[in-house]
């Protein structure tokens, strides 16, 4: 489905009056009565008319607080998680109220796409609109963490990299012990002494 606001050619913060006005104008233009049955454009006009009606219903319903199912944030989250970013963006763009969650989801889409600077801006807007929300705050903190040049996740609290980080942090193996003993013995012998009398 196309963005209903684009279909009607109005901005996202249009009033109900403006929506109705735009609808009336377009409906007059594309009304089937303007096209005879044998006019080749009549099919096209009918198609367009359907789209306009749908867009009008969607916007008016959302303005009156009715849930059309079209503006469902959970469904959009689902889309983002499964990588259907274009679809999610279209659904998101058709939502009139740009609240904190809207900004957060918009940021997530940009983040997945790799548009990191845009993502940061939307995450920050989300967090400033709803400062108590842990999810938005976390996203902002994670970005600060990464902008500081730290790898890994902010929540772990330290700059962890998997590079050469295979568990063995220092320590001294049995091999090291023998080698050290050999070395010490050789050094002693150089100076005339003897550490291990056997060799």
């Amino acid at each position: 489905m196309n963005n209903p606001y684009d279909v009607l050619g109005i901005s996202h913060n249009a009033t109900e009056e403006q929506v109705k006005e735009a609808y009336r104008k377009l409906a007059r233009k594309y009304h089937p009565d303007n096209f005879g049955a044998d006019n080749p454009l009549s099919d096209l006009a009918e198609e367009k008319m359907k789209e306009i009606n749908q867009a009008y219903d969607t916007i008016i319903n959302s303005m009156r607080g009715g849930n059309t199912g079209y503006f469902n944030f959970n469904a959009i989250r689902e889309m983002i998680n499964s990588g259907r970013l274009d679809e999610a963006e279209r659904a998101l763009d058709s939502i009139p109220q740009h609240n904190a969650e809207w900004n957060f989801l918009k940021g997530s889409i940009y983040h997945r796409r790799g548009w990191l600077e845009q993502a940061a801006t939307f995450y920050q807007t989300a967090a400033s609109m709803d400062p108590g929300n842990a999810e938005y705050m976390n996203a902002v903190n994670q970005i600060c963490w990464q902008r500081g040049g730290n790898f890994g996740s902010f929540n772990q609290g330290f700059n962890q990299t998997p590079y050469r980080n295979n568990g063995s942090t220092g320590g001294c193996s049995s091999c090291d012990l023998c080698t050290a003993l050999c070395c010490a013995d050789t050094c002693c012998e150089c100076m005339g002494g003897d550490l291990c009398t056997c060799c």
Partner: protein, 293 residues
């Protein structure tokens, strides 16, 4: 292989050599030599002069994804016959990286010719026929690759004609080109998407560090640069902002790399991502010490 050259001509995506194990260092050098040989074989001896570390990394990533048979042989290089070297034989990955290098060379040259003036421009003009024949051959071997290279050229020109293009938009053509190239490495759909995501972020980083490197010159010559919106800030402020942007991109690339779950060549690739990129950032940003004002 020459040690640290403070020159972007040879690429930004390279390891910190001092932190490689000797065996990793040897393998890296051998792949470098292998790529040079592969370029010479397919694209003629002059193409070897365009050898660039970035594409050694491409070859290593390809090896890690495809896991082809790799052989190492002793040989003597014509450039320095006195020294014994090791050569990596792995046609699948090295030919892929060579085709990638030539396809990208053409779009880079075209871009440079538009930007440069004077002698440098004439120099680039002389290279153009070489690059053109390289692109043609690349088209035959890897048709998709040449197509990606042409696409990026067209999109980049269009975007750079608008001085207000933001960082994300300006970096998008280069980023998505490397993303698509990385996606070509795998046949499996899930892995392709993960490779695209990683390649996108790495390509974005390369574009941005190149832009950071060229900032002063672009400013002087009034050319497009995505960081020009920072020109009214003090040097210190600008550097810290650029550094933050690059950091974000670099750490994101590393995170996406870990999602690929690769095993082969892993410690060299991780050296590049966790140490090499940061070292390049430091070099580029410190090269322009803050001036008064």
């Amino acid at each position: 292989m020459e040690s640290e050259r403070g020159d972007s001509l040879f690429g930004y995506v390279k390891p910190v050599q001092g932190q490689l194990l000797v065996c990793e260092y040897e393998a890296y050098k051998a792949i470098y030599c292998g790529l040079c040989k592969a370029l010479g074989k397919t694209f003629g001896p002059f193409s070897r002069l365009t050898l660039n570390y970035d594409f050694v990394a491409v070859a290593m990533l390809h090896m890690a994804v495809r896991k082809p048979k790799v052989e190492y042989l002793p040989f003597r290089c014509a450039a320095n016959p006195l020294k014994k070297r090791t050569l990596c034989i792995c046609p699948e990955s090295l030919d892929f990286a060579a085709a990638c290098a030539m396809a990208m060379l053409y779009s880079k040259l075209k871009d440079d010719i538009r930007d440069e003036r004077g002698f440098k421009r004439i120099g680039k003009w002389l290279l153009l026929p070489l690059a053109r024949s390289g692109l043609k051959k690349a088209k035959k071997n890897e048709p998709r690759m040449a197509q990606i290279a042409e696409e990026i050229m067209n999109r980049q020109n269009k975007i750079e004609s608008d001085p207000s293009a933001g960082i994300d938009l300006a970096a998008d053509p280069s980023a998505s080109a490397l993303g698509q190239i990385c996606a070509l490495m795998s046949e499996e759909e899930g892995q392709q998407a993960a490779l695209y995501d990683f390649g996108y972020m790495l390509g974005r980083w390369v574009y941005l560090i190149d832009a950071a490197d060229d900032y002063e010159e672009d400013l002087r010559r009034k050319r497009f640069n995505p960081f020009l919106y920072l020109k009214d800030k003090t040097n210190a402020e600008r550097q810290s902002e650029i550094s933050s942007i690059l950091n974000f991109c670099m750490t994101e690339a590393a995170a996406r790399f870990e999602k690929l779950g690769l095993k082969k060549n892993i410690s060299i690739l991780q050296n590049i991502l966790y140490l090499g990129l940061a070292a390049q950032q430091r070099r580029v940003l410190s090269g322009k010490a803050p001036k008064a004002g």
